[in-house]
Amino acid sequence: MDFLYAGSWDEALAAKAERPPAVPISGGTDLMVELNFDRRRPEALLDLNGVAELREWEQTDGVVRIGAAVPFTRIIGEIASLVPGLAIASRTVGSPQIRNRGTLGGQLGTASPAGDALPPLVSVDALVEVASVRGARTVAVGEFFTGPKRNVLEPDELIRAVRVPVADGPQQFAKVGTRNAMVISVCGFALSLHPSTGRVGTCIGSAGPTVLRALEAEQLLEAELADGGLWESRAALPQPLMLRFGELASQAAKPIDDVRGTANYRRHAVAVMARRTLGWAWQDYQGGRG
């Protein structure tokens, strides 16, 4: 196994182009487990810790551009007001030690449906910036994953940053785990309300081969909010609407039985979380947020 250092983004891209099988490592919170447990022996590791620009975030034109290696602790501590859904989800990642090292780039690269930060990114239509020596491109997070542990990255590409729209309304995230801290998601749900556009964003975590948008639930809620004049009135949401929203969210899940929970429970829990997060987000909206 070789170990490749990159001192800059250009060096990193050059190294990746030269050695496409090299696996990028930043926080190491996923990859090192695979190395320690003898599950994976890549021919080379490409260390991104030396690439300073990956650890920076900036806000421009209503978008927060979060470097791929900004750790979760900084997302929680520095930009929670800009990307509240992502911040709530980030707080549920692993432990403090993991949050000090784990990154969005890592969760995107690992492409596990249980990546806690992924549902809020999909929910708000975040974009992933990827690049290679051949050039840069952006991919919608919702289109980034092609299956469990699979994504659209070409062998010579690296993840540069994630562009997350600054919140224009309430955002929520909930995650079920069988322990009250430091737990892999049994299933999760992210919700974002976008009063300025009338949009509703959703995404289900850990209940399918990839994170999944609950499209029909979004469409139902968007239609009902618009038709009922609820964005303007900020009136209480009808109970049947909330129940139906939960049901549709649940139907969008494609869960399996596994060691962390059953498919049936996941479907049930997604419905409950969808309903509850909607209740909290709407309460925020009624309270004047957005």
Partner: protein
């Protein structure tokens, strides 16, 4: 490969490091610093907590070559010539140590918490230490120790490092 980094204020090198080796392994097996513990090697227990450039991390999840040129601080640095660190003393005084395997990691995590938040509420202590598993104590005496260390540091005017 050869890696060189600063450990507890001293520059150290290790030769013949396999690139997939964890920083935990290098500290424990190559540099003679076994105080950082190896309980799970998957970031799920906190026993190998160290400071890497001042940030609390699990040493098992840092590839050793990633530490090249950086600063590492381990539990071995906490007690000085004038005795134990207040956090260490509080763990002893409160009966927060049984088998002790989780203790070095908890010393680090507590130090990190008190540096950020000198007088944490119980819920804050629990969230901050949720990454450090203890199988012996049931955590009650660990909470006692953090409260005591906090009180002593505040009373002693000990500036968070």
């Amino acid at each position: 490969m050869r890696i060189t980094f600063e450990v507890n204020g001293t520059t150290q090198s290790a030769d013949d490091v396999w690139p997939g080796e964890s920083l935990l392994y290098v500290l424990r097996e190559r540099l003679g610093l076994p105080g950082t513990k190896n309980a799970c090697e998957q970031g799920e227990c906190g026993s190998c907590s160290i400071y890497l450039d001042g940030t609390l991390v699990c040493a098992c999840l840092v590839a050793a070559p990633q530490a090249h040129g950086r600063e590492v601080r381990t539990v071995e640095s906490f007690a000085g010539a004038d005795g134990l660190d207040p956090v260490q003393q509080a763990f002893i005084d409160c009966g927060a140590v049984q088998c002790g395997f989780c203790t070095p990691g908890l010393i680090l995590a507590t130090d990190d918490l008190l540096a950020r938040n000198p007088q944490p509420a119980d819920a804050e202590i629990r969230e901050a230490l949720a990454g450090n598993l203890c199988r012996c104590t049931g955590y009650e005496k660990i909470l006692d120790a953090v409260r005591l260390a906090s009180a002593r540091r505040v009373a002693g005017g000990d500036e968070p490092s």
